[in-house]
């Protein structure tokens, strides 16, 4: 029954009879192409193509950038460089805030530990040799143990 269901779901593939031939051809083509892309000539050719594209497009790009810059200035709009500069400064501010947040968390933990220590005066009355382990509270995370 399952086989029949599978056969019913199968869609028609007109290329099925040619798969073997196709795969053999692709395998040999693959080996040849892998050898080609590993040659110095290929590296030189792709490098030259990329360089040619960059060199050819450079004058147009520069002209467009100059024109855009003038247009943005005339319209009193920020340029890409100015927006990018602002974004970089925002990231620095974010880093500072993250550092402050971390310090506040540390202080909160220490205050909680001090408050806990203040609630347990008996351990201090035991003398300088007594050790006190502050209990973890829920704000420190689940602190899973295995």
């Amino acid at each position: 029954m399952a086989e029949t269901e599978t056969e019913e779901k199968k869609t028609y593939d007109p290329f099925e009879p040619f798969r073997g031939m196709r795969d053999a051809y692709l395998e040999s083509l693959s080996k040849a192409m892998t050898d080609v892309v590993n040659t110095e000539s290929y590296a030189k050719a792709t490098g030259a193509m990329l360089d040619c594209y960059l060199t050819a497009s450079a004058p147009f790009r520069e002209a467009l950038e100059r024109s855009m810059l003038q247009t943005m200035e005339q319209l009193s709009l920020p340029t890409r460089q100015e927006v990018a500069g602002l974004a970089e400064r925002f990231t620095n501010v974010e880093m500072r805030l993250d550092d402050i947040d971390a310090k506040l968390e540390e202080l909160t933990k220490e205050f909680a530990a001090m408050r806990q220590a203040a609630k347990e005066p008996a351990s201090f009355a035991a003398g300088p040799g007594a050790t006190h382990q502050p209990r973890r509270d829920s704000s420190q995370g689940e602190g899973a143990r295995k």
């Binding site: 028609y12 593939d13 892998t34 892309v37 590296a43 030259a48 890409r80 970089e88 995370g141 143990r145």
Partner: protein, 354 residues
């Protein structure tokens, strides 16, 4: 009637074509394991995966996953039922993932220094606060392995207990064996000219570079495989998920790309103890965490020779190489990864995460 038979056949072929197009031009649902964002900085996000195992049964040492900076990290959580993240969460690990995000034009000056010494330490700091402990494990894959190695060497006292490096491109001495090294040689590739035009290295160019290593497989055979297996829902689902990830390209920060090409591919500075990060030289001998290096024997992007020398450079006493057949991505996201690589990683971490 012969006409009906012909129409049936044509109808079946049309249905097949429709299916092919649908898979090719739609996006699969990937990265589905439940998670929450616990930290953010610029484009970076630290995710914590919702634990599935009760706290008392979980491993004490959390695991941080760090992928490359020029691809989405969703490869680590490809699809439900075939996800490394899901697997590790199910084993009882407290799993975190650092998603670097897609850099914008304003991030073009970001270097390995920023990733390894500004973003990673802050993410680790948050992770330790949430996990409530000082120790953690870190898994770096591909370029993520470069960043985690640099971090481990520059900040050895941050609490890194276990370092796992997957297909790590660290040693660039065998230039004849590295196709990328040949293509990016200074004779042929002017990296500064490219970055002057684009700012960041475009994702499309990086994608082309990866595909061009095996052009027939990536541009023809892959699609033939999909066509041949269109009637197998599991094969289609697998192909669809992988294709969704592969085609979701992101750029790489310009300055970091320049470091990769000039300082690593051309000058091999990391292995030769000459790489300057944050005005200091990266000294791999500072790495003392337990180390597992996973090497894919059939990796054409990061050949095995690039990941072997690290073991002789670190000060770690507990270190191991795990070689496995497969490719750069296949060893972690391929069909047999859940039988080979994942259990080995989980088993290695088991004794070292208590």
């Amino acid at each position: 009637m012969p006409e009906e038979a012909v129409l049936d056949v044509l109808g079946g072929f049309e249905e097949r074509l429709h299916k092919f197009n649908r898979v090719l031009f739609s996006k699969a649902q990937i990265a589905q394991t439940p998670k929450e964002t616990v930290w953010a900085l610029n484009k970076a996000r630290l995710y914590r995966y919702i634990p599935q195992v009760p706290a008392q049964a979980r491993y004490r040492v959390p695991l941080l996953l760090v992928f490359a900076i020029m691809n989405r990290p969703s490869i680590l959580d490809l699809r439900p039922g075939h996800s490394f993240v899901e697997f590790m969460v199910g084993k009882g690990y407290d799993v975190y993932l650092l998603d670097w995000g897609a850099p914008g034009y304003e991030d073009r000056h970001m270097k390995f220094d920023d990733y390894a010494l500004e973003y990673l330490p802050r993410a680790v700091r948050k992770l330790k606060t949430i996990a409530g402990g000082e120790e953690f494990s870190m898994l770096g894959w591909c370029i993520g392995a470069i960043l985690t190695t640099i971090y481990a060497a520059m900040r050895p006292n941050d609490g890194l207990r276990n370092l796992l490096l997957l297909t790590a491109p660290l040693d660039f001495s065998n230039r004849d064996g590295l196709t990328f090294a040949r293509w990016t040689d200074e004779k042929y590739f002017d990296v500064d000219k490219v970055l002057a035009k684009f700012g960041n290295m475009p994702g499309e160019m990086i994608d082309y570079g990866a595909r061009a290593l095996k052009p027939v497989e990536n541009y023809i055979t892959s699609f033939c495989k999909l066509w041949d297996n269109l009637d197998d829902p599991r094969a289609v689902e697998s192909w669809h998920a992988m294709n969704t990830w592969v085609t979701d390209t992101i750029p790489m920060a310009g300055a970091a790309y320049r470091q990769l090409i000039v300082n690593l591919y051309r000058r091999n500075e990391l292995m030769e103890d000459r790489l300057q990060i944050g005005n200091q030289t990266v000294n791999l001998a500072q790495i003392k965490a337990n180390l597992l290096t996973v090497i894919a024997a059939g990796d054409h992007i990061t050949p095995p020779c690039q990941s072997e020398a690290i073991l002789g450079k670190v000060a770690s006493r507990d270190k191991e190489i795990y070689r496995i057949p497969g490719g750069h991505i296949g060893i972690m996201a391929g069909s047999s990864a859940h039988r080979t690589t994942w259990p080995h990683i989980a088993g290695w971490l088991d004794a070292r995460s208590r």
